[in-house]
Symmetry: C2
Subunit: 308 residues, 2 copies
Amino acid sequence: MINKLIKKIEESKAPIVVGLDPMLDYIPEQILKEAYQDKGENLEGAAEAIWRYNKGIIDAVYDLIPAVKPQIAMYEQFGLEGLRVYKQTIDYCKEKDLLVIGDIKRGDIGSTSMAYATGHLGKVRIGGREYRGFDEDFITVNPYLGSDGILPFIEVGKEEKKGMFILVKTSNPSSGEFQDQRVGDKSLYELVGHKVAEWGELHMGDSYSYVGAVVGATYPEVGKMLRRIMPKAYILVPGYGAQGGKAEDLVHYFNKDGLGAIVNSSRGIIAAYKQKGYEKFGPLNFADASRQAVLNMKEDLKNAWSTR
Amino acid sequence: MINKLIKKIEESKAPIVVGLDPMLDYIPEQILKEAYQDKGENLEGAAEAIWRYNKGIIDAVYDLIPAVKPQIAMYEQFGLEGLRVYKQTIDYCKEKDLLVIGDIKRGDIGSTSMAYATGHLGKVRIGGREYRGFDEDFITVNPYLGSDGILPFIEVGKEEKKGMFILVKTSNPSSGEFQDQRVGDKSLYELVGHKVAEWGELHMGDSYSYVGAVVGATYPEVGKMLRRIMPKAYILVPGYGAQGGKAEDLVHYFNKDGLGAIVNSSRGIIAAYKQKGYEKFGPLNFADASRQAVLNMKEDLKNAWSTR
């Protein structure tokens, strides 16, 4: 899948992942109304509205991008109905040949991490057959529990040729509270970065590892340093746009081959129609606004790259 | 809920939480067979078997203990069907007046942590009404993203009078890789412990905080130190029994008032019938074996306490 991700990035010339992180207040009134009429103004109706909204966006952008990143929390908040739509969204994206990065930030001790790996990347054996739970192509993983929390994901990833992005330096304002602490002559995120590079050797694709890293767009100097520490790790970069990350800051997250990073935008694309510069689309054409936002982001990254 | 947890611990004289972490190979053949006959040898049948197994154990132990801790990963590995049974288990335990600690180890940046908090502790507004997703009483939370990943859980916790246990020092062998790193004159877990104490002040019950900590039974010296750093935090202690934690090591996780800690056992209780000393029960009486294992654990902790 890492080879496929790279191939799709090269073909689309768009190192972009669209974050499918729907909030009810992003969804146009008309869609909400119809979903509530059909399924009730309840968890099922809300989940249905999210599904219709997602489908509109996916249909409008799938030919432009290599991958999507649904944030499972946004579905989990609606309980089982939300998770049903999380799965429906994954399946639909895969039908459209999009790679799916499940932003699940799971991580636990050995046998429990193995259960998460089984449910999200692998398959579970029941009697004589095997079944898949959520079946993402990649997931995000939290490293706080150390190697024995990570290795089960790598084990299942190797069997399935699937991958993961491990949190190294996150994009939020307080990420430094623990991640920036000095540990000897390094910061904690550097130490985690070195481990990501080490774990990455265990599960290599052709040129990059299946074990990537999450490094927020909001800390460009850190991105530059981590790029050197983990030369073979793909970096998933959240924080572009709404959170303040700028394209010119992101060029150093890439390697000289123009590869090695994929930039996420969520709100900036899926709720583009609500933003400055996209007023002309209006709520009914929210998906066209999302398409335009992807094209604009692609251009923005290309321009930044050309001035590198 | 923290006051209720303490009241129930005092009444039951059992600072014990039973980890409902079912694996298919714990489940007696007869239950598996019947569930597969009724629902099919597939994800639905497996989930049904887990439900029947859980129900047997809950019915056998609910009057002895204050709380249960279902590990969501063990359900999530069966996809949506598994999560349906996770929810069914929560609802049934609450009917039995057990407190439910969802071992979900979630944690993300602001709005995403808020979505997790909403789905697991709070309620989501849909049109004019509010709905609950999973509705645990407490959850476990991962601190790697810092304060803005934690505060949303506290915010929702305050509204709902619900709580959380934040990972400080986990019970697994490699927990030290990051958690033990020296940060100035402290280790990282101490630093996280100090933050837990600080966050705890924001959401206090009568004598203890709604913000507790996870500290593994396998590192007793660390438990002793963290007990001092976080005097008002309830400590959830995994790692007793199967993972090697001994009762005499655990007494220092408690305060002098005999409160302040609750010890988890999962496999040692739910799969007791498979263990040495419980052979006489046999697979059909797995639930009676679990009841005996709870009684034995209660005695073990009491004896250890008396030699403190």
